[in-house]
Symmetry: C2
Subunit: 110 residues, 2 copies
DNA sequence: TATATTTATCGTATATTTACGATATACAAT
DNA sequence: ATTGTATATCGTAAATATACGATAAATATA
């Protein structure tokens, strides 16, 4: 088998793992950075700056959308994307807390 | 095909993605937390506290070792693990910088 | 209306991940 | 020496992820 055992773990552990998975591919990291660095929503230029086929980029965008890390709108024939800063900050907080809380203990080992 | 295109992305993007992948499974998050919360290295009790088969836990431990997030030693018939805080802090810094640097821009959009 | 452009989705091939049982290995205890 | 215990590794099945070409859908333009 290989039916994932995720239900066996608690909510916090699953949330962190899920968030991590979203940014666990360099293409998604690159897309996120590219979208973030613009003043305005990026409309129809992401495919050009990425070394991947259009359909592959579209797939990665879909995952970022699913995670609500980006917001997509349509402008005529173009698709526009920008970062969903609310979710972005949730990610930041979740990772920050994980590291901070895990770190606290253990001064006399290793 | 499906030959991964990771070489096409830069070092920073790949590093963050790789780090994220290590903690992208709840079992590994749980293992890390379990090991971190002890005063001393945990010797031969990790399997018991996890809802997975011994061989599966061993596999996840191997991945954490490969990432150097934990250190493994042998004490007789037992295997002992503790967090490699140096790497842990490298992870923390990498995630922290990613969020901080990505966030800077973009005040008037979305 | 016909054509071009942009992007999402479908189908599919391949690679990787996850999980488990069985087995091997290494040490401890009898 | 034999037996028991802990853990890593092997083999393998199934699920998921990654990538691309082809195609569909939607809009803009001629």
């Amino acid at each position: 088998m290989a039916a994932t055992r995720k239900e066996e773990f608690n909510k916090k552990e699953n949330e962190l793992a899920d968030f991590a998975k979203v940014i666990s591919h360099p293409a998604r990291v690159a897309i996120l950075k590219e979208i973030a660095k613009r003043e305005e929503c990026i409309c129809g230029e992401i495919v050009e700056v990425l070394p991947l086929a259009q359909s592959t980029v579209s797939q990665h965008l879909k995952e970022l959308l699913k995670a609500e890390l980006i917001i997509g709108t349509v402008d005529g024939v173009k698709s526009c994307y920008c970062v969903n800063w609310k979710t972005f900050e949730k990610f930041e907080k979740t990772f920050g807390e994980f590291f901070a809380r895990t770190k606290i203990q253990n001064p006399n080992c290793c």
